[in-house]
Symmetry: D2
Subunit: 407 residues, 4 copies
């Protein structure tokens, strides 16, 4: 078999490089990537949402699609939900449905940007009553998390302004803190609040939580259960995201990721599709932190929640999610092959070329043999996309018709 | 009267600077800014369109709103329309309605981005049948222009791709040319095709008409009736738009503008609200070209179509349009006060500071006295926004309710 | 006199707007802008430093040039110095020379980027000996500050890397803290450490202090004498600088500014020359904070150190500095004319258009009459640039020849 | 031997994918990458040029270093020169020296940015005498090309302005054309003029040749011997460079590349070090054009001049050049493995995922076995960097000391 020969050669080559595949395999099996319920529904741009046939019509069907992704990859056992998009009468029923499918409910994502009341801000609204309403909606999410067994609230606020003068930036900052302090209090001790930031959109002048510094400072003030969530599409052009990742790891405040890729703004494309090296470098920082002498840095690095947060405007949803998951897995696998001892040695020698080469070498490796081996050991198909194409699921869901869930 | 004293002082100050107000006034009276029918309707981001009460429900009501803007400013006598958004059974009737309101139908803007068939491209679609459909829709727009007395087709294509490999870039380029050549042939001799370009969105990997160079080259190939339209929000960060304007003027290929402002991407905010100096510098290039020794450069500069193209996601539509028009008028007025002889003199002396100061000085002037005087002579209110607030029109249109036209 | 009439009218107009000029004048007289010794010397790009005749040959001559700027503006009484560029044998003598010229020594700026030892980092270098050397150079600067009566160390670190893997980001972060903690200890109680950040350059992959968040977090850890310094040219494209300013004010951690303008990267052009509205909006946030109910926010806003940090690659140095000072003063004056009560009222009403208009209105005012009046009361020339041109100083310094100080 | 097994497996895998290695090998052997004489000298940022021991002291030593790169890679047989940096008394002697080393003189790069006369522009200077001087310097370069057997003039102009008003943009545009038309006339029929553009730096307001559109339009006007040169670091953030490449190929106006990589501005880092996928996508467009039905498109794609244009500020020069060459070769090799028939098929089916996957699949392949095999067949070392380290050349050139050539 060609695959066996490829793996044998791969193993030999890695051994030569001083890399143990058994450890890499363990880490690959332990990797978990949460998929978002809204990733299975219709989405688009402000210009047009093209509807696809077969998108799920309710949270239960979204779970079914997500379970297909998990069955084919083995590494997507939880599903993030959006409230109110995924509001149901009986969360126990949704949880049971998920569990039956081999899934758990993941992060609960409050949506505070589509109610007319939030037009000028939710937790940063100048009107106390609206801030109160927003706080209650956040508390509802904490409650839903408790009902569904979720341990995470993933908070992205669309709050901001479009014009100078529109809002009182400092007051809004303080109002946000007040609301979130109330929410923080409601968290169980084993829950966490993941605070996401964004450079711009939908606010076009100032965004209340505009960058990692604002999210971090807020988390610091709230307490140890609050951490920062990095969405890879939410930065200014040129921003060194892996630097931010390293920084937050060192501060023990990195809680999670929303993966997606972009070339321009928050394009929300398939993770790893554009500039895949960036995703690899993010993982190189995380894996480096897993070797830190400080156990709290290590613990932070090991407890990061990896989630997708994407729009599939043109392509069919389930294979696009599969592809994203596989892209993330691929870059993670490559980063596992970095010889960090070599990197450190070169750093100590001020040997720029050797240090760069030691990182880059791992990126150039084709990890398909490793991933095939891991998938085999996990009893999932070696090529999840092919398996999906052959499964007949895509054809089956066409019966749902057009006009399913969208965001 | 304070206003009279202000104007007297203003006139004296400008005389001292060697600026004749009579010429400035003539140019201010001749300035025309076209407003877009869609600017009066609901718009938003991909996250949410907040509906406003009172937005027009059909093209006829849009004309009514536009006529209010023209009545209050005196400089907005035409209205751009979007097809199919403004499709009506009888364009003669729409034209008559507009004329009764003192308006003309302006540029016809084909919309080739919301039909399901155009999901993967319109005139650049790999399927010949779809390209043919798109061409026919463009020809329909030429026909509508002829029916409504419009002399301009304003073409923005959303065509592009989201991922490497998705499209054959070179073939798409040639298909586009083929379609537009057919459309070009249908134009009357006194019509023009304005070709707009855009850096990105809704396409997130490549946009078929991505920059001025692609639009310009296409216009060159099509012929003298094709010109470039510059939308101020459609460039990469940092792009020197006034340089592009000067360049296109020199090539006699600048046909029009879509004004709006932005801080990040194509934010489509009120024109002149962000970085107003940029708008002033654009006009400084245009007015400089009006003094060129080449009559064809002068003619190009004098025949530019100025149009707004904006979204008013949060603010009420009509006053936002008024404000935009006034911002454009204000920066145009300031640019009229540049002493170009001083600029040229400093340029010849390599006197960087004096050259910069000669341009900047005009920007620092408060042109309210000049605008008040011009408005008085034009029999429009000195403060159009105040006049609108007092007119009762905003209250009157509330009867239209929510859920009017949107894009 | 036209000027008197202009001022009378101006006063009346402002009174009508509810603005008291006496308060504005007091604030304008209290404004201080520090000029940098290196701004008077030669500078350029990596491609070429064009030498100018007459640039100062030593720190003493730099003080002389700076004193001319202060004499002509009345608001530039201190001069920032760079060590080692401004190293002298006897700092008492430099201080005395400055005082004789009516100047004080301002912020001491350690230069940790031109010694060969710092090629791979100064306080973040992997070699302990080099970190120690850098720390000692910082301590030398603290000592120089004490000798010259300066109360500020203004710290910009060029430290960073060009390639992935080149440096251990987390270790470098901790080394930096260790070094600066030692420096912090050496500060007198009335001194402060201003920590500057920069997006990129000269490091092209990661910069150890890359953004406000990293500078702020470091300041938090060091203690109350450490504050953040904002250089207006050190951000990613599109960054909302005034938001950062407001944020740091609310956190009581904004210590100072390096003013300059840019269109692309850290272009270090004349302050306020590009996008002057941004400078105005920065001041609008500061002046708004001066009205905060929290006395500590007010105190922070009132104790900001304003400094220029620019390169005059093409234009003569002294008039370029004058122009920069005047641009800053102009935007500050405009911001003083904001009717903040109107802004707040509109914010409370969610009246986006009125709020934006209340801010923008002040920007559109021509403040020349106000500045003339203030200059007259301060006994400085109404037009500092004209006075400089007529002073003969530019001709006098030509005797210095070419080849003076550069950076 | 592991390498043999790796190659055998590689060949089998590619055969399975329908890729013939014999064709790929031919193309890899035919690939030529020109190295720049200035890449071997000292360079830095405006903050500091760190001098390295052993950099060449004159053009002859630069050739020697370049010959080492060619000996080790087999694909760098020509060297670009910069005038006046590489001005020598006897170009015949320089040519002979190069030839003895197995090299040819490549593109002649006029430097019109370091003479004091060019401070305010060279071919766009308002002074006719300076434009004339610049033209003569360009003609000198044409003459040097003729003397050295070079067939290319590679023109990058630093011309531009720092402030609005500083220059007359339209006049400068026309002056540039006039000068270059004169230079164009001097070209032999088998020579070409490669016109490079740049977004910004050293000019910080407007750059006379700011983008591909301006370079292309100029080339169109000059004639068929003028083509556009793309420097990968000279674009606004986010620009889709491969789109520009495809566009210029379709117009038969793409003449050459300056390779280097960047994260921020024109960082001039090792080619392919940052975002290597971009380099791969550029080659994917070129190789796609090599299959075009239009023989002129094919011819254009096959006659592109590939050159490096980089600064090695921190790392040793020769290995950094080697690494750059190998990075370019690697991405070229990967692009050769794209199954374009699959891509086209997916495009025709509007199968976004399959099209993207067909491109991406090739990027994920580890091409080391292929490169080793090619190098073996070319009689160069399988690992050029290792061979260089073992060659003793780095130690030998230390005798040159510090302070060699720089730019």
């Amino acid at each position: 078999m060609m695959n066996d020969r490829a793996y044998a050669l791969f193993e030999e080559q890695q051994k030569d490089r001083g890399i143990s595949l058994s450890e890499a395999k363990e880490k690959l099996k332990a990797l978990k990537i949460e998929t978002p319920s809204w990733g299975y529904g219709d989405s688009g741009t402000r210009f047009k949402v093209f509807q696809q046939e077969g998108v799920p019509r309710d949270p239960f069907e979204k779970m079914e699609d997500a379970s297909v992704v998990h069955k084919l990859t083995g590494i997507c056992p939880s599903v993030a939900i959006h409230i109110p998009w995924d509001r149901v009468d009986d969360y126990g029923k949704l949880k049971a449905h998920a569990e039956q499918l081999g899934l758990a409910i993941g992060a609960v994502n409050p949506n505070l940007f589509q109610d007319d009341d939030y037009k000028f801000g939710s937790v940063t609204n100048v009107k106390a009553a609206i801030r109160q309403k927003a706080t209650e909606q956040l508390l509802e999410c904490v409650d839903i998390a408790k009902q569904t067994g979720s341990k995470e609230i993933s908070l992205w606020l669309a709050d901001g302004t479009n014009y100078p003068g529109q809002g009182d930036i400092r007051k809004r900052k303080n109002w946000m803190y007040e609301c979130l302090a109330e929410v923080y209090e409601a968290l169980d001790d084993d829950m966490r609040l993941l605070i996401e930031y964004k450079f711009f959109e939908p606010a076009f002048y100032h965004t209340d939580l505009a960058d990692w510094g604002m999210a971090y400072n807020l988390a610091q003030k709230l307490g140890p259960k609050a951490e920062v969530l990095v969405d890879t599409g939410h930065h200014a052009q040129g921003t060194n995201i892996e630097h931010i990742v390293a920084y937050l790891l060192d501060e023990k405040r990195l809680g999670g990721f929303h993966f997606n890729s972009r070339k321009y703004a928050d394009d929300d494309l398939i993770a790893g599709a554009h500039n895949p090296y960036e995703l690899f470098l993010i993982f190189s920082q995380i894996l480096d932190a897993c070797r830190d002498s400080d156990p709290n840095v290590r613990k932070t690095a090991e407890h990061i929640s990896y989630m997708l947060d994407q729009c599939h405007n043109l392509e069919p949803k389930i294979p696009a999610v599969l592809r994203s998951v596989m892209n993330v897995q691929t870059q993670f696998a490559k980063a596992l092959l970095i010889n960090f001892d070599e990197v450190k040695k070169a750093q100590e020698d001020h040997d720029v070329l050797a240090a760069e080469a030691a990182i880059r070498e791992a990126f150039e490796i084709d990890v398909k043999p490793l991933l095939c081996a891991v998938r085999e050991e996990m009893n999932v198909p070696p090529d999840p996309l092919k398996a999906y194409a052959e499964s007949g699921y895509a054809e089956k869901i066409l019966a749902r018709g057009k006009g399913g869930a969208s965001w």
